[in-house]
Structures are given as C-alpha cells and as structure tokens.
Point group: C2
C-alpha cells in the first residue's frame, strides 16, 4: 500500500488520529461526495443533515453498547455548578496532556458511530405507505486501538444512502447500487474485491443479544488492496424496523444501506493514481454519469 | 421573534439541543454556506477541513478551559481493557437515559468550540512572508444552560474566514468583510445591528489570564432581532500569534476573523421572510455577486 502520505500536498496528520485536508485534496473529497449524493438524488432519495450526537438511550435499544463498547465515544461536559467549574480551572490539563475532568454532567448522548442510525430514530413509530429513500453525510466517530492517516481515523466522513421498504424493495435498491459501484470501478480501473464481512463485535459469545447475531453475515464490503473496506452494502432485514416500530404496511419495515467511507476512497485513489489528481483519469472525479 | 419552528417543513428538533434539517431548508443552509465560501475564495482564501477534535493541550495554551469551562465538551472513550468493557456492558444506560460510564480512557481532546482555533494550531511556529487567508466550515460544540432550535444548539455550524497578517492587513480584511456584510443586509432587507460584544467568560474576576482581558472588546456582532448574533467580526491582535509562535516578518502575527453561524442565519431568514423559501427575494439565496 501507499506509505508516503506525509508528503502529499493538502494532507496534514495529527497525533490524535485525524487528518486535516486542504487544497486539491479537499476538492477531491468534495467531488467524491457530490458523486454519491448525485447517485442518491438520481434514485429519488431525500437528503438530511443530522447533529453530531445520538441519544444514548436510542442507541442502547440496538444493543450497540454491548456490541461495540470499545468503539463508542461520548460527549462529556463538566458538572456545571460554579464551585465544580472553579475546581476544574485550577489545573484543567495535566503535564502529559490529559484533561483532569473531575465531576461531569450526566451523559445522555453518544457521538454518531454510523450515519444511518439517525434515520431509524427519526422514523420511529411511523408507518410507511411506500419505500423511503434517504441520504446523509456525517462525521462518524469510532475509537480504535491505532490510527492511520485516511485509513483508520477516530473521526471520519461517511456518506450513506438508505432504503426502508419491503425485503424486495430493499433488495432492488441494493442491487442497483451494487451495479452502479461495479460500473464505476470498471470505468476508472479501480480493482475492488467484493467480500462478505461482519463488524468487529466485542466479546460476541457473551453477547447473545448483540447486533452480531441479527445482522451478520449481511454485510458485503468493497475491499481495496486486499484489506481496506472503502464502502459496504448492508442488509438489515427488519432489525431496525422491529426495534424502532417502523412499519411498511402491517409488517416491520426492512432496511438496507450503501455506505462510502470518503477518506478511505481518497486513500485508495491516491494509491492507485498517484498524489496529484491532475494526472488522474478524468472519469474519477466526474460527478454525473456513472 | 419567531415561535412556530415546530411547524416548519424540513426541521426536526431533538430534546438534546440539536436540529435535523432536510429538504428545502437544508438546501437553504447549503446555499448560505456556498455564498460565504465564495466570498472567501474571491478574497483568495484557501479552504481547509478539520477534524471534530482539537488537542486539549493546545487549547489550554489559550487559557480556554479557565475562560470557558462551562462551554467545553470532551470526547470520552471507555477504558479499553476487556474486563472494564465487560463491566460496562452489564448495564450501559440507566433508566433515566444516563450512560454509566465507569472508568474512562485518558481524555486528551476537546470537541472543537470554534472553527478558527484549528488554524492557529496548524500554523504554529511558522513565519509568514505574506498574509495567510484561510477558510473552513466546522461543526462547533458549546454546552449551554438551555437550547433553542437553530438559535442555541449544543452543536452548530460555523463558517469562518481568517486572516493572519500585520495589524494593517487584518484591518483591511475585516473592513472588506464588514462592507460585504453591510451590502448584503441592505440588498436583501435584513435589519441588523452592529454591536460591540464580549464572549461569555466564566468568573472573569478570578481569571486574570483569561482570554477575556486580551480579546475584549475586539468583537463586533451582527445582531438580528435585538438579541441573536448571526455573525461576528473579531480582532485578535497578536494573541494567537504570540501564543503559537506564528510570526509575520520578525513580529508575532496579528489575526482576525469573520464568523457566520449558519443555523442562526437560517433562523433569521425564516423570521424575516417566512417559512417557505420559494417566497423569499431571489437575492437571499444567490451565491455570487454581493
């Protein structure tokens, strides 16, 4: 894979696992997202913009915290009482850079771990007369054991296109986007392996109710360079429909989504076509067509 | 002011102080940001995209935590040892929706409270031969005592345009953007009061080193409806230059920025022109020209 990321114009890398993008590289990321957004709009999807937080109580209904406690990041504020704040200000940060939090306000939120969860929360208790096609792009947060520029970041950008509908409607949707991705990979000459996958569950044998058992093995990843998933197709069956009381007719709705990790796409394109996007095939950054 | 936000198409509001936007309303927000981005590009600024986190150690150099401990939100992950994670999964969320965090990993980051801080960290220890013109849009996080849809959110969207340069270069920059804002307000008929302001410092008499004393009274707010600041012009003198060792020639660089709170702009436009943007004057959503 590509190891010279430090020398790429427009990419700065911070110790805490996060990239700063600027210039042409930022433009590439924006163009990529525009393409996927255009795909979504062509399909008739409506775009949403969600906050950075999800309610912990809602996410708990998915058994997320039992399945992925190691990935979760929580937004924590200090205890707001003046004497507590004053105690904090005495020495807010240790010599090694760690914050001396002290007492905190109750934590009721979690930083969004995947863009599409917001939709199931928003649509809860609704009954759909037709399939709902939705899209959003979100900063997603996953604590990892290590970080790599563009490949594995504590925060990263995910564009998702989601359908809620009958099982057949979801299949039709996923088949269309699988085909669209295939055509794109062929057209630009990006070599991708489609591979069944499951998420990185915590301690699955001890988590009988975990998401694992219900979603696995319904994820197919688009794998670049033998190891990096730059996107995925996901069938959720009626897991979200049941959990959040979303119906299609008189049945819990099925759902499925296609997800694109934008920084990973950027990484794959840099590996495949080199550090200067002006030398890339024009089709890579087109936002209409394929 | 406008109290019927619950009935506006494309706006959903969550208890935790955050709005969900979709449809035409989301489009309005995007058009607003495009306009400000275009202003920045016209001025020759380069666009950046930053992560959601800032290093706490860096922010501490600004005395941020002594000045605004009540506003700060920290990204907190669990202690990653398997036995600790397992203990957490026993009962991750209380009946009242509060997360039972237990032991946590050391906290070294803070959720970005203002977009422009990232630039001073990125440019630290540099010596500039000419002014640097920069822009970014960021989700910013400020814990508040209460929240109101679009007006006061725990996370909100801020577009900033920043200049690092000599004091004269910063003045010239701010004067240009003051004039550009003035022309826009006049053109679309939005009544704005320009008002000197200072930020909401914690316990200022006990914080002699606080940002307050150095920045105040160098902020001018664009106030809508007598109380809502939808944007501001800020002179920092050489505070950031000194703190982060950024020089212009052989002097600590001066800096200034213009900041736009996008959800508040949306709120002001909804108040002024009504809930349906199709009835608004065309100039409101133009992205070139003024």
């Amino acid at each position: 894979m590509f190891s010279e990321l430090r020398n790429i114009q427009g990419l700065d890398w911070q110790e805490n696992g996060q990239a700063v993008l600027s210039g042409r590289l930022l433009h590439v990321l924006q163009r990529l997202d525009q393409r996927f957004l255009q795909w979504a709009l062509d399909w008739g999807a409506e775009e949403f913009r969600f906050p950075a937080f999800l309610s912990a109580r809602e996410l708990d209904r998915l058994d997320y915290f039992r399945s992925f406690p190691h990935l979760a990041t929580f937004p924590v504020a200090l205890d707001g009482r003046p004497e507590k704040l004053r105690a904090f200000t005495d020495r807010p940060v240790d010599g090694d850079g760690a914050v001396r939090l002290g007492e905190c306000a109750p934590v009721r939120e979690v930083l969004t771990p995947a863009a599409c969860y917001h939709f199931y929360v928003l649509f809860q208790d609704r009954c759909l007369e037709r399939p709902a096609d939705l899209t959003t792009v979100a900063t997603c947060f996953r604590r990892e054991a290590y970080y790599r520029p563009l490949q594995r970041q504590w925060n990263f950008t995910m564009r998702e296109i989601v359908r809620l509908g009958t099982a057949e409607e979801v299949d039709e949707f996923l088949e269309c986007f699988r085909e669209r991705c295939r055509r794109l990979f062929l057209q630009i000459g990006l070599s991708i392996e489609w591979r069944p996958a499951s998420d990185a569950f915590f301690d699955p044998p001890r988590n009988p109710r975990a998401l694992a058992q219900r979603l696995d093995p319904l994820k197919t990843e688009m794998v670049f360079g033998g190891e990096l998933a730059i996107g995925s197709l996901n069938v959720h069956r009626n897991f979200f429909g049941e959990t959040f009381g979303i119906n299609r007719g008189d049945q819990p709705v099925s759902s499925g989504c296609v997800a694109f990790g934008l920084e990973r796409w950027l990484y794959a394109l840099l590996c495949r076509f080199g550090p200067d996007d002006r030398t890339w095939p024009a089709a890579v950054l087109e936002t209409d067509g394929t």
